[in-house]
């Protein structure tokens, strides 16, 4: 399909203001009379709170509020698994604003303070006396599963949810398999570590509306905030700022409820910004998993059976764990044709930091396991990494393990081949201490939310009298170019240059709600909603122009602010003239459109069959590494990403997602070690939690496949999360290729690689 604006690598309209330092991020904003908030956090991972004495803190001059759980009208909320409207909350599970009676994790919020300065607020926090009765707690998910284990929550066991997949008969199949590969994989907690810590300012407007200006991926939390305070939903307004990185960490409520409570109490504007250490404590983590994976195949390398058990450490509160677990279930054996499959998954409460949303959302963990396993299979049979995958991977028309047939193009084979061939031959090492390895891995990940959540999005497009355009959409922009993509779509549909399109985003009162910037859904959902709205406006303009030109509407096209007759280039009208006529005639020069994802029912059984997702993105990573065999240090020499992105709306943004997502998982694979010991976070800042620096990584090469087979606008697919898939196993596969030892626990730090090569006696 030929497009004029869509597909171009145009700089985002927000790039210049960001490059000039003009963006007012959440913490850059202030109001007159503003107070500063601080949060008192638990010093124990598991404890009873026997008493909280706030009297001294309250008495400190300059302190305007000290709040605990008893000051919160609805401190405990419950949400259900299938609930789609209140997207951040828990499931049949508890969402608790401030700790009451029992502490469940280190850093859990106990009290809030608002004072005239940050220093005073900190001083007041220091004056709050909490009497704890430490409890034994449980910090290992396997232990937490045992009968009689310490109960983290209020129920009598720690299981949050279980899912399973059953296909064929694995027991029989393993008996007849020529080869069986069995391993246990462990992946750690990870942190999003976005450069911008959580932050916001709240105030009460002239209409008693609690207004929260915050850095968030989800403005729909206004509903939860309203319920916590016991006010109607329309009495809370969330204005989302340009977000300094989200990746799932700003998907749950972070500062919003605290701010609302404090501003409601003090009647003054309040600012709350987390420190880096607080950010690491306060928001959810990528779930740590223990994955047992058993793969059976013929001697020709055809898969016959896969059996896998996944245990997710969900940490202290339920949050999004059931959904993450469902993703991990559907993705458990990967995008392969396997006639016999047995999957069992469980998410368990512990007194560790709570797990919630993080780029990859339960798909990335099993990906590490299944791509390591298939690699090991190929290695054992003497079949190269590309061939073993091409023999077994899904193609168009094949069925997933859940029984759903996938009817669109599957680029796995193509992407794997392109990425692998781009690596070329292995360079020879010029040192006997350095071994070179090449690794390949493929990945499949959904874009769009779970279909039983009945996802929708809305967008509003209006054309001004002079032909310029205004767009309103609730979409939060996290930096991936969410808003820019909508402008390019509108520009394509209406033939208006980008400079004449302005968009307003992320305001629950003033922009149509577009749903969360999560689950790689915005381009798909809001892109389609915007396309629909723009197309509706376009149709009205073309209808009017056809009348004005007395010609067939089918011949007319909107291009460069004109309506042109494609059969007769001399026949045209200016866009402005047509708009003028529409206005005179009383036509509506705007449209608000809603786009619905496919709707399915909430799964009622633990056994998962049927459609869970709307669509998937397929891709591959090929990696070249140099391993220092005396130290275990791994140097990445080349990284090649090849993904079918359907259709690039903006080439720069798509490449940016692959490069950024790839690098995020480089950290996951090699250096990011979120160390939690007995519930205490040892990796407490950027000094201990090591993100890769620019000096640690090579150039990342991207190869795009545009199959046009996506269900997003113009056949686009989402790439934000899929981009992080597959690179971690590609790296450990490359290490194995280099030194013949397979790292099955991440991160593959030099020490881990070394002791994998040379196990401690």
């Amino acid at each position: 399909m030929d497009t004029n604006v869509v597909g171009k690598g145009l700089p985002k309209f927000d790039a210049w203001p960001k490059a000039k330092g003009k963006i007012i991020y959440a913490d850059d904003f202030s109001m007159p009379g503003m107070l500063y908030a601080k949060v008192l956090r638990s010093q124990h991972p598991a404890a009873n709170i026997l008493a909280v004495d706030t009297s001294q803190a309250k008495a400190l001059p300059g302190v305007f509020a000290v709040l605990t759980a008893e000051d919160v009208l609805n401190n405990n909320l419950r949400a259900k698994f299938g609930q789609s409207t209140d997207v951040g909350a828990q499931f049949e599970g508890l969402y608790r604003v401030l700790a009451e009676k029992k502490i469940r994790f280190f850093g859990e919020a106990i009290a809030l303070v608002a004072a005239t300065s940050e220093k005073l607020a900190e001083e007041a926090i220091g004056l709050i006396e909490v009497t704890y009765e430490p409890l034994p707690g449980v910090f290992d998910p396997i232990e937490a599963l045992q009968p009689g284990a310490y109960c983290v929550g209020e129920s009598d066991n720690n299981v949050i949810s279980r899912f399973k997949i059953r296909k064929g008969d694995v027991a029989e199949a393993f008996k007849t398999a020529d080869i069986v590969i069995e391993n246990t994989f462990r992946v750690p907690f990870s942190d999003h570590a976005y450069l911008e810590p959580e932050s916001g300012v709240a105030w009460i407007d002239e209409n008693e509306v609690i207004t929260i200006r915050a850095s968030t991926q989800v403005i729909e939390h206004f509903r939860t905030v309203a319920e916590v305070l016991g006010v109607p939903h329309n009495q809370v307004r969330v204005i989302g700022t340009w977000v300094g990185g989200g990746f799932g960490g700003k998907e749950d409520i972070t500062v919003e409820t605290f701010l609302a409570l404090l501003t409601w109490k003090t009647r003054r504007p309040v600012k709350l910004t987390f420190t880096r250490e607080e950010s690491l404590l306060a928001h959810g983590k990528r779930h740590s998993f223990i994955i047992k994976h058993k793969l059976g195949a013929t001697k020709d390398g055809l898969l016959v059976a896969a059996e896998t058990e996944l245990v997710a450490d969900a940490g202290a509160y339920i949050y999004l764990s059931p959904w993450v677990l469902l993703y991990s279930t559907v993705n458990a054996v990967g995008p392969y044709n396997i006639p016999n499959v047995k999957v069992d998954t469980v998410a368990v409460l512990t007194n560790n930091p709570f797990g919630s949303a993080f780029r990859g959302f339960g798909a990335i963990q099993p990906n590490f396991a299944y791509e390591s396993q298939i690699d090991e299979l190929g290695r054992t049979l003497g079949i190269d990494p590309l061939t073993i995958r091409q023999k077994n991977c899904l193609h168009q028309g094949d069925a997933l393990a859940t029984g759903v047939t996938y009817d669109r193009y599957v680029a796995l084979s193509d992407a794997a081949e392109k990425a692998w061939q781009a690596l070329g031959p292995k360079r020879s090492s010029n040192s006997k201490n350095v071994k070179i390895g090449h690794g390949l891995a493929i990945g499949m990940m959904s874009y769009g939310r779970l279909t039983f959540l009945h996802d929708t999005s809305r967008s509003y497009v209006k054309i001004e009298l002079d032909g310029s355009v205004l767009v309103r959409c609730g979409i939060p922009d996290l930096g991936a170019g969410q808003a820019q993509a909508l402008c390019q779509i509108v520009g394509e549909e209406l033939g208006v240059p980008q400079e004449k399109i302005k968009i307003y985003i992320s305001d629950t009162a003033l922009t149509p709600l577009a749903g969360t910037s999560t689950a790689t859904r915005q381009l798909y959902m809001s892109g389609n909603a915007t396309l629909k709205a723009a197309a509706a406006v376009r149709e009205r303009l073309l209808t009017k122009a056809a009348m004005m030109l007395n010609t067939d509407k089918a011949n007319l096209k909107l291009l460069n602010e004109k309506i042109v007759d494609v059969t007769n280039q001399d026949t045209s009208l200016s866009l402005k003239a047509v708009v003028g006529q529409c206005s005179t005639d009383g036509d509506e020069l705007y449209s608000e459109a809603q786009f619905n994802a496919p709707f399915t029912d909430v799964p009622i059984s633990e056994q998962i069959t049927g459609q869970i997702f709307a669509d998937f993105t397929f891709g591959a990573y090929a990696v070249a590494v140099a391993v220092d065999v005396e130290t275990g240090a791994v140097t990445l020499e080349r990284i090649i990403a090849c993904f079918d992105i359907g259709k690039a709306i903006n080439i720069l943004n798509v490449e940016g997602q692959l490069e950024g997502g790839g690098l995020m998982s480089v950290g996951y694979a090699l250096s990011e070690n979120l160390i939690v010991e007995q519930g205490y976070l040892k990796s407490r800042s950027y000094r201990e939690y090591l993100l890769p620096t620019a000096a640690d990584v090579p150039d990342i090469e991207t190869i795009l496949i545009e199959s046009g087979s996506g269900i997003g606008p113009y056949g686009a697919k989402g790439v934000g999360e899929p981009s992080g898939n597959a690179i971690a196993p590609a790296i450990t596969n490359a290490i194995c290729d280099a030194v013949g030892a397979r790292v099955t626990t991440l991160p593959a730090t030099p020490e881990r690689v070394f002791f994998t090569m040379f196990p401690r006696s």
Partner: protein, 289 residues
């Protein structure tokens, strides 16, 4: 809440007077690259910041016939870009190349790195093998030259008294010395060393006439591997000799297991990096692992 105070003396003499006369706990501030994190993490116990960053007389690298003298306020970047150091103290040059990151290097001073007395101090290890001595001044005791070997006492603790000010660090010039520094960190910048090693040696043909070996992050302070040094002195370099030295150095260190590495891994690395540092010194111009 503690109160903090600030003072900015305009001369070394004034600084010494303040240190001598005041009862308050004074922290000497220059690059502040350790002070600010300490303040933030509530690890700072001093109440007065005495800012000596304006004392130009403490900046700069001087080289005469016998001695290279680095003023205490000289930054890591200044040391890195000094030709005198690149030519005459390769190990120190290499240490500065990988110290923290380029922005921190614009502020971090060699005096501050010494005073901070971290067991991982990246400038201390090369200075150690250069047989450096620290010039310390105080009003009562005047100017003293303290060998680096005697300067560090425990993690975060040096022999500096409350009245003392580091004014310079110096080492003898010796064109016969070849040196090398290797840092092993968990990433290529902004990394606290898992282990670091410096080697300085002199050869007569293939025989070692003089060798100094220092290691960081494997003991309460950076240490010299004296036994290994003594073993290698007078010996001809050969694979067997190096192998023996690698085992010996491992027995001279007392690493701990911490968030960055286990003691077994550090011990293993000590041997490997000793060999590599010796090789690096021999070819002069090695790099970090």
């Amino acid at each position: 809440m503690s109160d903090y105070y600030y003072v900015a003396p305009t001369s070394v003499g004034e600084s010494l007077k303040i240190l001598h006369q005041s009862d308050s706990k004074i922290r000497i501030a220059a690059g502040c690259t350790n002070i600010m994190p300490d303040l933030k993490n509530k690890k700072n116990t001093d109440s007065v910041f005495m800012d000596i960053s304006g004392l130009e007389e403490l900046r700069g690298i001087q080289s005469d016939d016998n001695i290279i003298r680095i003023g205490a306020l000289t930054t890591m970047n200044q040391i890195l870009h000094s030709e005198v150091i690149e030519q005459g103290a390769t190990a120190l040059h290499q240490a500065c190349r990988h110290f923290a990151d380029p922005l921190v290097r614009n502020r971090a001073t060699v005096g501050g790195n010494l005073a901070n007395a971290s067991p991982a101090a990246d400038s201390v290890v090369p200075l150690f093998v250069l047989n450096a001595f620290v010039t310390v001044e105080s009003m009562e005791n005047g100017k003293r030259e303290i060998p680096l070997a005697d300067f560090l006492v425990a993690p975060g603790k040096s022999v500096l008294g409350p009245d003392d000010l580091i004014t310079a660090v110096s080492f003898s010039k010796d064109t016969g010395v070849k040196s090398c520094f290797i840092k092993f960190g968990l990433r290529k910048a902004m990394a606290i060393s898992v282990i670091s090693i410096g080697v300085a040696l002199k050869l007569d043909d293939h025989t070692v006439t003089d060798i100094r070996i220092a290691l960081g992050s494997v003991a309460p302070t950076p240490i010299r591997a004296r036994q290994t040094e003594s073993y290698l002195t007078g010996r001809e370099i050969s694979p067997e000799v190096i192998k023996r030295a690698m085992e010996m150095v491992k027995s001279e260190i007392t690493p701990i297991s911490d968030i960055r590495a286990s003691k077994e891994y550090r011990t293993h690395l000590a041997g490997i990096l000793l060999r590599r540092a010796v090789e690096g010194a021999l070819i002069e111009g090695g790099d970090i692992v």
